[in-house]
Symmetry: C2
């Protein structure tokens, strides 16, 4: 990006102070990244649209990605910030078609944190790394003053390698393509919210936080596969927007076909949340040539991780870059780009 | 490391809660890493003694390292947390003998941070990256709630590549080797402390924060070069301890030969600090076969970054793993391993 365009785009970020909405995966975060970080860093290797970038190092093309984790509470049903820090980053490699090999780990630990809790978190992190087959190869710890820092923040950077011939990307999406999701949406968001015991609500719902590698390995060499992404911050609606925006075509989702657990739906109805904006941490959205869609669905449904998989929509031939939800009652509504943060500190 | 030895070593970490001293680069931090992180992660690729590790990815051996940054204040004479986040991680690659190629960047930004300050920090970060010749290839931002988080924390992970034949490591150190330092010590620590305006002190001292690549590139292919390290958290004394511990021999430093700026010495005398424990962010300690020591010194002194370089000590043939400082007055004192944190949040 040239200096001129950097200066021009900087004008777009009109906020003078950072707000929580700059971290939610939606419009404000996109503006912060596209209008400040990307033009200033101006690196040809940086692709703010991609889950992982391909880097040429010596004779080898490796895949590279990074993610930070601040989830509150640090431990929740189905995982904790340690396992999440492995799954989040290795899932970004997985949806790019790669096998994760190595991770770096940064821990920002608050003064006063219980060593026993730190040990539980790092034990989960190690177990998740072992399960995924990735090695933590570099690490650093910093201690934050008491009251500064929410217990622990983690950052992981992943290095992986992609089988030859796997070519996935937003730019591969074509009108007519089908949209699949590998399982129920919103479980992670609601599980973390219930673990906070806000609003006097409790529940047994487990987060879906898990490795998506079985799902991505099964699908990545299927002809007609265009693109995969894990719907984390901003949820399914945000991935749908990214696809629509990249394809410059309307994306149509069919509400009756989108798998949502009853418990997630109930909490959403009670509190006025939309489950399509809630984070998942173990699901994959895939865009597939419609000719291969049934085959892709069958491959996923054969896996325990994909038993609730569903074909949930399509890329329409209509130009535009919005997302339309066809509702249960035959009506239609737009799924707007996320603005406010329904649930901050979710990952 | 086996599960048994992990359990055994866990018993050594007797603290129940994390304290600031667990982040200072000294004994407590070493125990936290050696007794909790390393045995739990149990990764053969992880070397907690190394600045950067060598990873085989496809046909290529790459060098990999990571570091977190929490310096307070975020801006100080000679740099800010943004330039520091580039120099810290690329310097770890440099002292391992590598050329840095790519960085990932994690930013944990506190709600309420001024966008103008964020822009200054990322502008410095980008300028430092440009100067070092490294590309920021992946990034992530998270927003922390107001009051949680000290403005901004950064984490960077670096990927580099090493010329064939460069073989450096703590295990290469031999009795009789000479110890060099590339410039004055403690500038960064005192500059940051003065920028805090604690103790009613002010000063014009600039941090030494800078890339050490010119220094390491000039020396890395010199026959007889054993090891290089940048003395950051814990300072020169901590690097000296790491060398003594690895070599299992006494390390002797000659106080009159260690370059310390008058301003740093004055502040240290006033406040009772020892300059040898203060962080540098642009210096290199090198261990060299004594036969090549004068040549190494001449190479460094020819560079602007090395004009104050000095041969400051040697590895004695005496067994033991302590560090002896021969003082100006001909006396001797031990430089103990750092315990308390003289200056927290320095990097």
């Amino acid at each position: 990006m040239s200096v001129t365009s950097a200066k021009q785009s900087r004008r777009l970020l009109q906020d003078t102070h950072i707000s929580l909405a700059h971290g939610n995966g939606g419009r404000y975060m996109r503006e912060l990244i596209e209008d400040l970080f990307a033009p200033l860093l101006a690196s040809p290797a940086l692709d703010v649209q991609a889950d992982a970038v391909a880097l040429q190092v010596g004779q080898t093309e490796l895949m590279f990605t990074t993610d930070g984790f601040t989830v509150q509470p640090m431990e929740f049903p189905g995982g904790n910030i340690g396992s999440l820090a492995v799954h989040g980053t290795t899932n970004d490699l997985a949806v790019s078609g790669a096998d994760p090999l190595y991770l770096s780990l940064n821990a920002f630990i608050e003064e006063g944190m219980e060593v026993a809790q730190l040990e539980r978190i790092i034990t989960s992190l190690a177990a998740a790394a072992h399960e995924v087959g990735v090695q933590v190869a570099a690490g650093d710890t910093k201690v934050l003053r008491r009251g500064e820092g929410g217990g622990i923040y983690l950052a992981t950077t992943g290095v992986g390698i992609k089988p030859k011939g796997v070519k996935l990307g937003l730019d591969q999406i074509r009108p007519g393509d089908s949209i699949l999701v590998s399982g129920t949406v919103g479980d992670h968001g609601i599980a973390v919210m219930l673990a906070r015991e806000q609003f006097g609500l409790r529940g047994e719902l487990k987060s879906d936080a898990a490795s998506v590698l079985p799902l991505t390995r099964a699908l990545r060499e299927l002809p007609g596969l265009r693109f995969m992404r894990d719907p984390t911050r901003g949820g399914l609606a945000t991935v749908a927007h990214e696809c629509a925006h990249a394809a410059q075509h309307v994306l149509r989702l069919f509400e009756p076909l989108i798998p949502v657990r009853d418990e997630v739906r109930s909490v959403c109805e009670m509190l006025g949340y939309d489950p399509y904006y809630l984070a998942c941490e173990g699901r994959v959205v895939a865009v597939v040539d419609s000719i291969q869609a049934d085959q892709a669905l069958a491959i996923w449904r054969d896996l325990p991780e994909g038993s609730d998989a569903s074909i949930i929509g399509k890329v329409e031939r209509d130009e535009g870059c919005h997302v339309v939800l066809e509702t249960d009652l035959g009506g239609e509504r737009f799924l707007d780009e996320l603005e406010d943060d329904p649930l901050p500190r979710i990952c």
